[in-house]
Symmetry: C2
């Protein structure tokens, strides 16, 4: 995990990959995988940041400079998961949604400088 909880994204547009998952019971190497996955993401071209939370559901949103960067990351991540045989071991189920962020705002900026 990074030192700050929020991804320091630039002005839109940029790309968000929303990964929502339910886990299987047990670790099965998942924690180690999560750490190396995040380290790997940060080395990818076009990586902007990542935000993650989990309780009964897990949500990880990674941010990318453009669609090409997001697609590149998908291939790298899928390859890594396949190598570790993680898909069936780790997840009961998941959804991936790839989206273009068109506007954003923050608590401090929402009244005076929201990106349109």
């Amino acid at each position: 995990m990074s030192n700050q909880p929020f991804a320091d994204t630039p002005q839109p547009p940029y790309v968000a990959v929303i990964f929502t998952s339910t886990r299987t019971d047990g670790d099965h190497g998942y924690a180690a995988m999560g750490a190396s996955m995040e380290a790997l993401a940060k080395d990818q071209p076009g990586f902007l940041g990542i935000e993650s939370a989990r309780d009964s559901l897990g949500i990880t949103v990674s941010y990318w400079a453009d669609q090409q960067a997001a697609r590149g990351w998908k291939q790298v991540a899928a390859h890594l998961v396949a190598q570790r045989r993680g898909r069936e071991a780790w997840y009961q189920d998941y959804r991936v949604r790839v989206a273009t962020v068109e506007r954003d705002y923050s608590m401090r900026s929402s009244t005076i400088e929201s990106h349109p």
Copy 2:
């Protein structure tokens, strides 16, 4: 919270509102607010679903039929938060990102029927 953890979204395109937040200590009416906020969202025009997780960071992604529906929800939610004076009481900080989902896939469909 809904019975199923995943939002049952249609084929893209549709709109995702990604709300990421860090909380203040204490409840300050937040739990009651969260429940009524979700009930209210479901009554809004164009509501498609909602997914939520929290540990040190909270991430709630709500899904909407189009940009107009997402903007309508923003106004309703902001009004409700203002009524309850929640912004400063509940959140240390937050980010809101509004994005158009262009493609999605699931664990079961990812090899054979991902939406392009």
